[in-house]
């Protein structure tokens, strides 16, 4: 069995294999301020009275926080009222991005099946869990029944041998892999990430990897647990020797360079040298992909004692309140602010184009996020390049796309 087959078998109580249709009990469900209001409405329309388990349903205000207008303020209000009525946890404005807080607050653990009404829910594959994204009505149904119908996915195995070079990060690796597999390369499938390159990765880096499974169309993506360190004890789930994979990809990543994803699709990826020198107007670090402490530290290492280029703006949205506090306590924030960064409320920030830093016409953005579709940040006439946090910082410093190795 693959990891996905094992986790799902454990949940339904009998052995399942790829292609089987199952009704699976879940360990947790989550919705945000983009998907929650519709889910609450659907829950009521379905005749839902009480969620299946108060301790397993969570709402997060993160996509448009603080609310930029009365319409969204009222949606937040509706979500608070629902959370209070049902006695479920709601993460308030500024507590962080849904995927970050689910992991930090241990709503999802290794071996779990977790359903989130957000496409980047596969992020929890970093924890050796089966996590997949759904829309609002599916979420409502799961909140009501505690179950979801699923087709057990086939699995793709990606083996990366070799260690990443100094200055090359998990983001560079996953951008490379998205470029290789393409935006639809894993549609309906589960990805297993294995090999030396992942073994010494921090939890944060593993989250960056699993996060962009969404950009390959995957249902879920699970990082092999070897080397995974958590604050609590857990049982690891490994695939069987004779597990069946639809495809196996092998890459030696020891010589991998920093990567860039150019407009207007995350799989439009190449070595940074192809784009070095492209002028930028706006740099952004944050999101569920790269807004964690190690990402802010990587930016600070590039910017220490320096100032970003005049005329460039640089926004940082920490992934959570605890990220913000940690970055404050260890001096990272001071370095970044002195270098010219503006810090905004922990949450999704400008990632999804709702507020807080929409780019102007013809402006060029370099972002540590996971998506650069046309119009993603709120303006279809701007261009978004995706990169690792160190590259974003180096580019802010020089006013043009720059590898952190060449930052001066």
């Amino acid at each position: 069995m693959t990891i996905a087959e094992k986790i799902l078998s454990n949940h339904v109580g009998y052995p399942v294999k790829a292609g089987d249709l199952i009704i699976c009990p879940v360990d947790g469900v989550m919705a945000t301020d983009t998907t929650g209001p519709l889910a609450i409405q659907a829950f009521r329309e379905m005749g839902g009275k009480q969620v299946f388990d108060k301790s397993k349903c969570v709402l997060v205000l993160d996509h448009a926080v603080p609310p930029p207008n009365e319409r969204i303020a009222n949606l937040h209000k509706m979500m608070r009222a629902f959370a209070k009525e049902q006695g479920i946890k709601l993460f308030e404005i500024g507590e962080g991005i849904c995927h970050q807080v689910m992991v930090e607050h241990e709503f999802v653990k290794p071996g779990d099946v977790f359903i989130g009404a957000d496409s980047h829910t596969p992020t929890y594959g970093a924890l050796n869990a089966f996590a997949c994204g759904v829309g609002s009505t599916d979420l409502a149904a799961t909140m009501m029944t505690g179950q979801i119908w699923l087709k057990v996915p086939e699995s793709i195995k990606i083996v990366c041998s070799g260690k990443l070079q100094e200055g090359v990060s998990a983001k560079d690796l996953i951008l490379f892999l998205v470029g290789q597999l393409t935006i639809s390369g894993a549609t309906y499938q589960s990805i297993e990430f294995a090999g030396e390159a992942f073994e010494d990765m921090t939890l944060a880096s593993r989250m960056t990897i699993a996060n962009m499974v969404a950009e390959m169309g995957g249902k879920t993506g699970i990082v092999h647990p070897k080397g995974l360190l958590l604050d609590y004890d857990f049982e690891v789930i490994e695939p069987d020797e004779n597990a069946v994979y639809l495809q196996t990809f092998e890459f030696d990543v020891s010589g991998l360079e920093a990567q860039i994803s150019a407009p207007e699709s995350p799989d439009n990826v190449g070595n940074i040298s192809q784009w070095e020198g492209t002028e930028i107007d706006y740099a952004f670090i944050g999101t569920c992909c790269n807004g964690r402490l190690e990402d802010l530290q990587a930016a600070a290492a590039v910017l220490k004692g320096k100032r970003i280029k005049e005329g460039v703006r640089f926004l940082i949205a920490p992934a959570s309140k605890s990220t913000l506090l940690d970055a404050m306590n260890d001096g990272t924030l001071q370095i970044l602010i002195e270098a010219g960064a503006s810090i905004i409320t922990p949450g999704c920030g400008p990632c999804v184009g709702t507020h807080q830093g929409v780019p102007g016409n013809d402006e060029v953005v370099i972002s540590a996020a996971n998506r650069n579709f046309k119009g993603r940040m709120g303006n279809p006439n701007s261009n978004i390049y995706l990169a690792a946090p160190a590259t974003v910082a180096a580019s802010a410093l020089n006013g043009k796309i720059t590898s952190s190795a060449n930052a001066s």
């Binding site: 249709l21 199952i22 009704i23 301020d33 983009t34 998907t35 209001p37 519709l38 409405q41 659907a42 329309e45 379905m46 005749g47 996509h63 448009a64 319409r71 969204i72 949606l75 009404a117 957000d118 496409s119 829910t121 994204g133 759904v134 829309g135 609002s136 009505t137 599916d138 409502a140 149904a141 009501m144 029944t145 179950q147 119908w149 087709k151 935006i183 639809s184 549609t187 309906y188 169309g217 249902k219 699709s265 999804v352 184009g353 709702t354 998506r371 579709f373 046309k374 119009g375 993603r376 709120g378 279809p380």
Partner: protein, 159 residues
């Protein structure tokens, strides 16, 4: 009318994130596909078909994407294949979707579509297509008119 678009039409292009935070679904139809085809929302009429290439609906989990298409009057979305969350969402809200693989359908072609049988005839060039069969649970959900109605009727899932 048959509207035809290419591969990898993502949810940001179907309905930009800035419009999704609402419960007033009629406003979604005003902005549907506006970054891809600004004319679409003005021209689309109830019963029209939307045809696309590969991986239609990739990107976000926003159910507002199929909802916006449904509210605009689109009767069925036909594509070579679909991104999985979009596919589930469309069925869940009662918007039929048909996956037919490689096709030769052009903007403005006359189509006859039997949604139940998943059969499409392109009257303009004579080609016909049989859509991939959905799992029974999805057929049942679509027959009920969506997941809300399905669960109202059944209380839980049945395989």
């Amino acid at each position: 009318m048959t509207f035809v678009y290419g591969d990898n039409i993502d949810t940001d292009r179907i309905i930009p994130g800035k419009y999704t935070k609402t419960l007033d679904m009629s406003t979604l139809a005003d902005h549907v596909l506006e970054d891809l085809d600004p004319e679409f929302s003005k021209k689309v009429k109830p019963g029209d078909y939307l045809v696309a290439g590969k991986n239609f609906g990739c990107g976000s989990s926003r159910e507002q994407a199929p909802l916006a298409l449904k509210k605009s009057g689109i009767a069925v979305v036909i594509a070579e294949d679909f991104a999985r969350i979009f596919y589930r969402n469309a069925i869940n809200i009662g918007l039929p979707v048909l996956e037919i693989g490689k096709h030769f359908i052009n903007r403005g072609d006359q189509l006859s579509v039997d949604i139940k049988e998943g059969f499409i005839k392109n009257e303009t060039n004579g080609e016909s297509y049989q859509a991939v069969k959905m799992p029974q649970v999805m057929i049942d959900i679509l027959d009920s008119g969506g997941l809300v109605e399905y669960l109202k009727e059944n209380g839980t899932y049945k395989l």
